[in-house]
């Protein structure tokens, strides 16, 4: 964990969600949903599933408000090849659905799900190269 983060009196979203343990609990569920969805799994089908899972973990950490170093430019670069493959807003929406469903499955309260969704939503334009 980065210790350079500002400390505030209120627990952060990441802390409220349960930190890294929560990400670990979520990553298999989320990745299984994404891989099992024929509408989007071609964007996630990679022979190196470990690397894919690590990416999903990075994504969830970010959406959970956890420590991350990703800039908008990184997001653009990382998804540019997928945009070429046809990645569009409808696919982004589906991933957002799976994020919400994963958190719901883990009994995360609705207001925290909404906060995580808002963070993920903020990457939309960069991910889609808009």
């Amino acid at each position: 964990m980065s210790d350079s983060q500002e400390t505030t009196s209120n627990p952060s979203l990441y802390e409220q969600l349960g930190g890294e343990a929560a990400v670990n609990a979520a990553v298999d569920i989320f990745y299984r949903k994404v891989l099992g969805d024929y509408r989007i799994n071609r964007f996630f089908d990679n022979s190196d599933m470990e690397k894919q899972a690590a990416k999903q973990k990075a994504f969830l950490t970010m959406a959970f408000g956890g420590p991350n170093n990703y800039s908008g430019k990184d997001m653009r670069n990382a998804h540019a090849h997928l945009v070429k493959m046809g990645l569009n807003a409808s696919h982004f929406d589906i991933v957002m659905e799976h994020l919400g469903a994963t958190l719901a499955e883990l009994n995360v309260p609705q207001e925290l799900i909404a906060q995580a969704a808002a963070i993920a939503e903020s990457t939309r334009n960069d991910v889609l190269g808009k």
């Binding site: 980065s2 170093n69 990703y70």
Partner: protein, 332 residues
Amino acid sequence: MRSITIGESTFSCQPDETVLETLLRENIKVPNGCRQGLCQACQMRSLDNSPPVSAQVGLKDTLQKQNYFLACICHPEQDMTVALPNQQGASINAVVIKKQLLTPDMVQLVLQYQTPFTFFAGQFVNLKRSDGLTRSYSIANIPTHENILEFHIRRLPNGQFSNWVYDELELGAQLAISEAQGSCHYLPGREQQPLMLIGTGSGLAPLYGIIADALAQEHSGPIHLFHGSRDLNGLYFIDEMRELADKFDNFHYTPCLSGEDTDSDHVRGRAHDVALSSTETLNGWRVFLCGHPEMINQSKKMAFMKGASMSDIYTDAFHVAQVKKKFSRAAD
């Protein structure tokens, strides 16, 4: 201040610096990505001391055991000697003490070493001939006081190395062996967990070692082995496996044949299809997959979708060497 040694060079790790920052500052090329301990691009290995536990977060347990760590989140607690995953340490010599045909296509090769050598059954080593020709083979036995390494080598039609082993390699001959590599091996703990092992062809070699290891460490959960081949020539150790199944109540063995014209009492079908349809769920299971790369890709995904956690799936893909290209092995 801690020092970081890599290869022949030693650098000082400044206070607050990570191993990655120190090495990049000194212009050592280390692959990296998120710099937050997430993407695992900067995996390295500590060659002397155990790395800080905090720098091993998220790595496969077998890699943690082998002192792998993430350089981007590693603040050294002591001096460290480190290497990149593909950096080879010194090799040692071993002598051929046994060579025996298992089937017309498969030979069992046993080497003995004198120099101290550490490994886990199921890992692989590079075997190097005196002229430099090198191939990777999996270790089929657990460490014993006899200091031996057992390999199962399949003769490939144009395989330079395998044909040489078959036709020319003699008892008493010397081979150089690399350090043991790979993360597909058994670790004690969670001994009641069900194990699923699927192998094709000589993929039985690492699985045989992993099973021996699990049984020696008194794994009490069910252990299911599915060994597949196209034809009977690719199935071997059938009697040995059946004896093992007789001896251990929790070990179950299913040989599978996928070829068209097989006339035998073995189960028909591809080993991974048979294996994965044998159970409703793999939730909570530990899964080992060894052999054909395509089989592994498919099975890995199927096992994951069937409920196995990504961290509980261990694989070793056997890539056949291309002409003039050295045998490469997925080291994951």
